[in-house]
Subunit: 518 residues, 2 copies
Amino acid sequence: MNGAETLVQTLVDSGVKVCFANPGTSEMHFLGALDSNPDIRCILCLFEGVVSAAADGYARMAGTPAATLLHLGPGLANAGANLHNAMRAATPMVNIVGDHATYHRHLDAPLTSDIEGLARTWSVWVKSARDAASVAGDAAEAVRRAQEGAGGIATLILPADTAWNPAQEPAPPQAVARRPVPGPERIDTIAAVLRRGEPTLLLLHGDVLSDPSALDNIDRIAQGTGAELLTETSNARVERGAGRVGLDPVPYPVDDAVRRLKHFKRCILIGSRPPVGFFAYPGKPGKLLPDDCQVHVLAHPDEDGRAAVATLAAALGVEGKTPRHVTAEKARPLPKGKLTSAAIGASLANRLPADAIICDEALTTGGPIHAALRTAPAFTQLRLTGGAIGIGLPLAIGAAVACPERKVVVLQADGSGMYTNQALWTHAREKLDIVTIVLSNRSYAILRHELSNVGVVNPGPKALAMTSLGDPDIDWPSLAKGMGVPGGAAKTAEEFDALLAKAMAQRGPFLIEADLAA
Amino acid sequence: MNGAETLVQTLVDSGVKVCFANPGTSEMHFLGALDSNPDIRCILCLFEGVVSAAADGYARMAGTPAATLLHLGPGLANAGANLHNAMRAATPMVNIVGDHATYHRHLDAPLTSDIEGLARTWSVWVKSARDAASVAGDAAEAVRRAQEGAGGIATLILPADTAWNPAQEPAPPQAVARRPVPGPERIDTIAAVLRRGEPTLLLLHGDVLSDPSALDNIDRIAQGTGAELLTETSNARVERGAGRVGLDPVPYPVDDAVRRLKHFKRCILIGSRPPVGFFAYPGKPGKLLPDDCQVHVLAHPDEDGRAAVATLAAALGVEGKTPRHVTAEKARPLPKGKLTSAAIGASLANRLPADAIICDEALTTGGPIHAALRTAPAFTQLRLTGGAIGIGLPLAIGAAVACPERKVVVLQADGSGMYTNQALWTHAREKLDIVTIVLSNRSYAILRHELSNVGVVNPGPKALAMTSLGDPDIDWPSLAKGMGVPGGAAKTAEEFDALLAKAMAQRGPFLIEADLAA
């Protein structure tokens, strides 16, 4: 075996089943090793920003890391924006980044750059393999480190000669340390805080949001103590819809968030951090909780929040309460006329099959859609976590690969969708069961709003042009056709509903441009 | 004035005329300042990798830096691959990277990351503005530093409050130090080397390649001494075609390069560095010159190569020689039948207007096209410099903005073109006079070749799938239509020639998919 072959077998033995790849010359031996190993699936993406978001979506749904294959510093940089999102989602991921042979690096060939420095921007663990004999051990460590604590990105840099030189054998998988469970003292403290009966927020993030039974326990705690529930604004994965506890996030606009939070005297963090403004604005606060609100921690992000809420529910004696679940809304009236976000939401909530996965990068147009989805059949929602736009289309790749039996729906803002439109090609090649809804308002609408927020109330032609996606309008069905994905455009609520019915009735990729500017 | 207004006016006063932008919330005051300043042009690109390559293409043609506007760490990362290329091209560029307000950064909001660390990967100068009062001075320094020495990327990080807080006035432009001219001792040494009459290579890179009169001097030196000429493999800008000195690069394949270089006993570097393999291969050398070849420096990359060759020609007494220029080849026979690279080259050489700019990311299919272009009407060639694919389509934006009166032609490999396909939208919005030729072989052909280079002679289905762009085939005219660019596909030499004739006869963007797999 060569180094690459021991590396690939070690990944497989450690539980890595998929590699999202955009290979280059320096990764040919690794590619050869993937080629000859029947136990790992390879999925080609035509841009590395697709690779990293696909690996993120996969791990959010599968619970185990995927590998990526990236080509030196520029390939890693291309993956960077969605690595940032994955970092903020605490997604386990193993990057394999090809590099020049160890003896070639000092020659400073054109593709040479500081890969380690770059990788540290997003990784919890970075190592450049020393030689072929040790690369398998590095791989086992990478898979372990990606899964420890809250989860994170482990980046193994693979100089070409560490791949092609002879090596011995794969390394054994490394045991992943269990996440610490908050101890009885912590539980007692939080229980005492809750028993005070003050206006208290349970702020949720992380592992509890992907576990309906943990959410049931949290709702029992809320029922028993009068505390209120909110999630952080951006969450990697939330179980939502009918038959589950209803959840709302801390609002994104600073003023709305401050208003929503202003009456709380206590905030209990469950896998979350104290809420802050996504951006700073002149004269507005950065910290969103009132100054006199005391913050307590039930579970840190790297701890076992699910165990914590189960123990807390028992300590409070509320474990027998029936959780308040959202009731399914049946047969909403079919929206008519002008195509709006509300109409899209109603159609989608009507037509969503049970257990769908929604990859949500709706941004400014999302509000009414999210409201309608509240009572839709149970679904899993994956969202943009780090604010680096361009995650929706590729995140869906990973979700669909992890859960081939579940329908995946992408709610994709148009400006963000352009960032990684290459993902559509992989939707087509892998025949993934993904319905993409492009919310086409033909602008960076959020920036129009933000311009006025910062005082540019009468933007001139330049500022308008810089926030417009018109002139020319993007024709999404043509783009999709160019990459092998069928679809159509809707200008009315009826047209949208008809296209959505068609998309839901078939399997495989389909794109609907929802023309919100019509 | 606020900080952003003093910054923009300082950029303008320092000679920056264009800003390629993809703005976000934290850059709204900067956008407001651009909006209100009539002396800077703003061009929206729908992905930051387009922004950075456009700024690169602009500076390669204009000789002065453009500004970019990027949104925090992820925006900078997205720009990174083409910043890598610009770094390798020694292109002057001024990045303005928006950041959270200084007092907001410690809150670790979702978009927070180590922007300075990231920027250092590609920049000769990085600074995070301290306050609104000093940001104008920072901008003047950035423009200067981008232009000093060989040229490079200066990155100014702009916390939102340094843009929105009140400031005094713009800063005066800073004088750019002239590039050092090699002294008489260096000239005498090199002249003595050349007079020995040994097999000698003049290896060219940098400023001499973009100056036909410098190339004339170099050819005179070659004529007078028997030295041979080659350029580095990857060059930012070369003046080529009829009426100019004929130039060939050091071949990309290691074996070919070694064969081409093996007889040289002396190598004189003129703005260049000793040639090395683009990648390492098992059992092949990294350094491409023979071990017994002595290397001498006439001009370092950050020195004035043009002055050096003029002085050297005089010292050698060859300044009176008539340079050997390439003769124009008239009316090549119209290629017929199967569409090949040679047919594309012949059509293009026939139909190229004088003074065109060719943005060349042809890669594996380029050889016969380059051969045909040797005798085409005089043109400027801009190439991929750092091996980070996805430069062609956006590089053309910058070239067309810098030289609106010149036809721009993109030779674009299909796999690379997908990386930054969003550039086509800016071609359309700005009505740029760009003809894009997509060389569609439906594969990462270079990787097929490299797989066999590293010993994978019978690739299995996975390796084939990972190097194939088929299944589904990319339909480039549909992609282009989706972004407002008209075009068509050619499957024969005749169809290609007809489409090219049409494209050359009009102004504005046009895309031709050359189906080399048909």
